[in-house]
Symmetry: C2
Subunit: 422 residues, 2 copies
């Protein structure tokens, strides 16, 4: 029987150095979020396959790992269809499980409910460098708060968590689904063309205004609409300040300007960037091209940008319709997810050192030690441990020099050798 050493395709083994960093980052994030009153929850890794394939998850629904039925429920005779032999799926995000969780436990939860969830999710994506089929997500959500107070909390707490992890000078870019829709309507695009329009718009930072223009033309949108639409983006070019950008938009769009979205964004911007409120060195920046892929967003959307990475290091937004699909009644909700794996990658690349680590001492035992001498060594280890040190006890190896080198690499700053008395 040949057993395979490698992890399954696209998943990976995490070695001690990274695992230790992940534990540290997890704890810092959890502590920060808890200080804002977010409360931890856990949801199962498996969900009913029908809950996962509900059209809210967009492309992710094609990437579900599906679980075979078991025992008598599994019938492989005759014509076999996938939907008949599968009952569960492994979750592809934490938002669907959270929505189900809230609907299931609504009566036992404080409202508004502030949830904190960190855990692995799975997508049967084509494996790529730096992208895995199992990865950790790290979400906070506020369920039941309809106003922009939720967005203020999410952005303040998340920026503080990043700050506690040593990140400085990052940006959180913001937009609003209602603005996106308003601008499309203003330019005269038909309602059923918005999804396509936003997918193309999303590429603006890669292909530029002229690239977007070309693709829109190719897709058969009217030339007038395209020019009217792109003139908005030209006017906004380089205007990162939320208030300034919104004034420009309002002036250009007139009555088509969605005032509710504008008010929300400018209030959020003012509060989260106020000197005594913000607990991190970051800027909130307006980006009219920010779409965020998920179909379920309904209001403000936001994304973290850290300088070294051109891509997003997390994001979120308001999704007022999703929870109701489970609970059966309208329930406003808003969430922010930190890109845990990218944060880990960045910290590793920066050579981040975990602060305040215990002193590490190794006690090495010669093979010839008597039982009494061994006992003394263990007593010493226990004593040093009580004093707050990490103490490793192991056999002295033949190649002592090599053993000590490895211990030094592992951060052991003191080595005590125990030889048999002669």
């Amino acid at each position: 029987m040949a057993l395979k050493k490698k992890p399954v395709n696209g998943m990976r083994d995490i070695l001690p150095e990274e695992a230790y960093l992940r534990d540290y980052v997890t704890n810092v994030i959890k502590e920060t979020y808890r200080s804002f009153g977010f409360t931890p929850i856990e949801t199962p890794l498996l969900e009913e396959i029908g809950n996962l394939s509900n059209d809210q998850g967009g492309e992710n629904e094609k990437l579900i790992f599906k679980v075979l039925k078991r025992g008598e429920k599994l019938d492989l005779s005759g014509d076999v269809r996938e939907e008949d032999i599968v009952d569960y799926g492994i979750r592809y995000d934490l938002t669907v499980p959270l929505s189900r969780f809230f609907a299931n436990n609504e009566n036992d939860l404080k409202k508004p409910f502030k949830a904190l969830q960190i855990g692995p999710v799975f997508r049967a994506d084509r494996p790529q460098k730096g992208r895995y089929r199992e990865f950790t997500q790290c979400d906070i959500d506020i369920i039941g708060e309809p106003s922009y107070l939720a967005e203020c909390e999410l952005i303040t707490a998340t920026s503080k968590a990043l700050s506690a992890l040593s990140f400085k000078g990052f940006k959180i870019i913001i937009n609003d689904r209602r603005l996106l829709t308003g601008m499309a309507k203003y330019a005269g695009f038909p309602d059923d063309g918005h999804t396509k329009l936003f997918i193309i718009l999303d590429k603006l930072d890669k292909i530029g205004l002229s690239g977007v223009r070309d693709e829109l033309l190719e897709s058969g949108f009217s030339k007038d609409s395209i020019e009217k639409y792109l003139s908005l983006f030209e006017a906004l070019s380089g205007k990162e300040d939320v208030k300034e950008a919104l004034l420009i938009l309002e002036e250009k769009m007139g009555d088509s300007f969605p005032k509710d979205a504008g008010d929300d964004l400018s209030r959020i911007s003012k509060i989260v960037q106020s000197e005594d409120v913000k607990e991190a060195d970051f800027r909130l920046v307006f980006d009219p091209t920010l779409v965020r892929g998920m179909g379920y967003y309904t209001g403000p959307v936001f994304e973290i940008r850290i300088e070294e990475l051109s891509i997003s290091c997390g994001g979120g937004g308001r999704y007022d319709n999703m929870v109701g699909l489970f609970s059966g009644h309208p329930t406003p909700a808003c969430g922010f997810s930190i890109g845990f794996e990218r944060i880990i990658l960045l910290l590793k690349e920066r050579g981040f050192v975990i602060p305040g680590d215990a002193k590490k001492i190794a006690i090495l035992l010669d093979k010839g030690l008597s039982e009494d001498e061994l006992m003394e060594a263990y007593k010493e280890a226990a004593k040093l441990r009580k004093e707050g040190n990490t103490v490793l006890v192991e056999r002295l190896q033949k190649n002592k020099k090599f053993q000590k080198e490895i211990l030094t690499n592992e951060g052991y700053s003191e080595v005590i050798e125990k030889w048999q008395s002669r």
Copy 2:
């Protein structure tokens, strides 16, 4: 489309109060184990189905959740056999993934390798009260240390972790697979009958000596062997002290006594219970009927018994043959697993209070607050948070009394109301 609110059968939603406790327990266990030089690792939740179905996992192999192949690899035409449509399985324990992990990363790991792994495992068991199909395991293992030093470390570290979680006066019961085999040989049972013999012996605390005698007779074992065998247990009855029990066994068994196992157990007993070594209030107790189900154990086996629960709260032992199945060369190994879910259950039942929690303050905002007043409230929250408090900001609700009751239940000891100035 009907979405289901309930978690899948046999799995569960974990609400904030328990999730917070689980985080606390996880951190205490991790910190304790780290202070002994154990290093955290993470392994994927999915494994090749062939790695999981390798005959080492005993009954658990029947309980695997299997993952359907995807895309072109999935062929549902013609005669469909389960093994052709499944490629991965969800892990049912942490020991198989650890063994694979070690073989895969051997060159990058310090040896002996001291691993610490906490994570969910899955078994498609019939759901029962208090038993779930997804549950957390919490394992430490030492790979590459052939002597009883490994057992001493595992028992000392695990008892200290339990002590740090407020457990006192518990027992760790110990036995040795070599003793079990030696006793069976001494009594003249055929080698191929040992597995059956041990399964019946394992029931001794439930059905008593006479019950065991009846079942052994029914199974067709020789009457002479049975009486010779049971006379050993009669002689050991009530002898919990390891040294004393071993002396009795050695005297009765003579040359059949496995001296290596006896030496190991008495050394382990002496070291882990020495006053200055042990960092917990526990007793190591000999139990000749302790079998531990898994087929892979080869030497000492042990189990945690906490008074309120008659069942095991964790256990482990030496498994010197398993890692070699992956690595291709003999590799000694020994592990200890804390029954995480049972520990959580016990702490909940005892009304355990998490020590040293931050002060919790709620700031409640009236709907009529001006933007400037809102800003002031947020500034105050940030200030209080910097001072080390947990600060929740939320809207004042219509039923203020009810809102405050809930906040009190959630541990908020101070409530600040912010009303609009008049």
